[in-house]
């Protein structure tokens, strides 16, 4: 009898534990949606609303779309974003990448940019990822001050090579995707 009771208790405790974890996961998720995702959606919606309504969209369609519809334009975009002085300025919160990405998304949706270019564009708008955060990121990895001193310029210079390279790889990898659109 006692064995059964103990077994039941163990099962109950294990289930309670798992349910607790699942519930906490849900709580974390809702927290992140309210804190991070919804505010950004509000901001992005406002920007898109203004752009679509005022006709700035047409200007973007005429300047950004031709740039983003061929590999050389995308390469140029990635080189600019990867310039070691600019990249830390463009990095914070990935706001620039998110806004430019959304603008390109609107243009893709309108058919001004071929769907296949979505893949290289994802890399072209983002060679500066984390360039603002190198000292903090290295500190989180418990790096010595000396490492940070070398690591910051090393990453920034590396991006000048790997930024455009990523666009080329993505371009090659985009063949056969959404063919005919």
């Amino acid at each position: 009898m006692q064995v059964v009771a103990r077994g039941l208790e163990a099962i109950g405790r294990a289930v309670g534990n798992v349910v607790g974890i699942l519930y906490q996961a849900g709580r974390d998720t809702i927290d992140q949606v309210i804190r991070n995702i919804l505010p950004f959606m509000a901001f992005i919606s406002m920007v898109i609303g203004i752009i679509l309504y005022t006709g700035i969209g047409n200007i973007i369609a005429h300047t950004l779309s031709p740039l983003a519809s061929n590999i050389f334009g995308l390469l140029l975009m990635s080189v600019i974003c990867a310039i070691p002085i600019l990249s830390p300025l463009l990095g914070p919160g990935a706001v620039i990448a998110q806004v430019v990405g959304t603008l390109l998304g609107v243009e893709i949706g309108l058919g001004h940019i071929p769907a296949q270019y979505a893949l290289p564009a994802l890399f072209a708008i983002n060679p500066q990822v984390g360039c603002d955060f190198i000292p903090v990121g290295l500190a989180l990895g418990e790096a010595e001050p000396e490492t940070t001193e070398i690591g910051v310029p090393a990453v920034l210079m590396s991006r000048l090579i790997t930024g455009p390279l990523a666009v080329v790889i993505a371009y090659l990898a985009s063949f056969g995707m959404y063919a005919g659109h």
């Binding site: 996961a25 809702i30 919606s45 898109i48 309504y53 990448a97 890399f123 955060f133 290295l138 989180l140």
Partner: protein
Amino acid sequence: MEIAARIAEGFIGMFQKGGTTFVGLVTGIIPLLIVLMTAVNALVRLIGPERIDKVAMISSRNVLLRYLVLPFLAVFFLTNPMAYTMGRFLPEKQKPAFYDAAVSFVHPILGLFPHANPGEIFVWAGIAAGITKLGLGLGDLAIRYFLVGLLVIFIRGLVTERITAIMWARRSVPEGQSQGEESTSAAEAAPAVETGGAAFASGEEA
């Protein structure tokens, strides 16, 4: 009066357009995102950070694990920005390269696992919204973004490690000897492996 009314209408219209966009984003992205993020968050909690630490220690040993597997595991389980703490298992000279690889993966992962960096989801979702609008599926783009992302972080890890090594060597060599740069950087590369092993061993003790 009529002009004023028209201006007011235009003003409100601008925000109505934004409101429509907002509703589209909320109903189109958030429901799936919430359920998916809950599932993955639960999985991460069930596995626990201690086990990830153990895998990380093993992963620091070779180049393929270091700049491919470790950044993925770090970003998937610890998410942005805690992923970079995994750098503590690596020797000093490889920390910048690991950071470069890890930070470069916080967006390519979003198409499949948005829990890893929900605050910056629009790097992915902005462009993806255009594909959705064309009536095309996102799976193809998401998986290619993910795979190309893995390849790119691996290359970034290698390139940054190389650049770090060169800069490290150049700094420790007195200025007069800069002509012998090639040979010193080659000579530096060999001890770098040894110190790497030593730093790893001390990391294990800790």
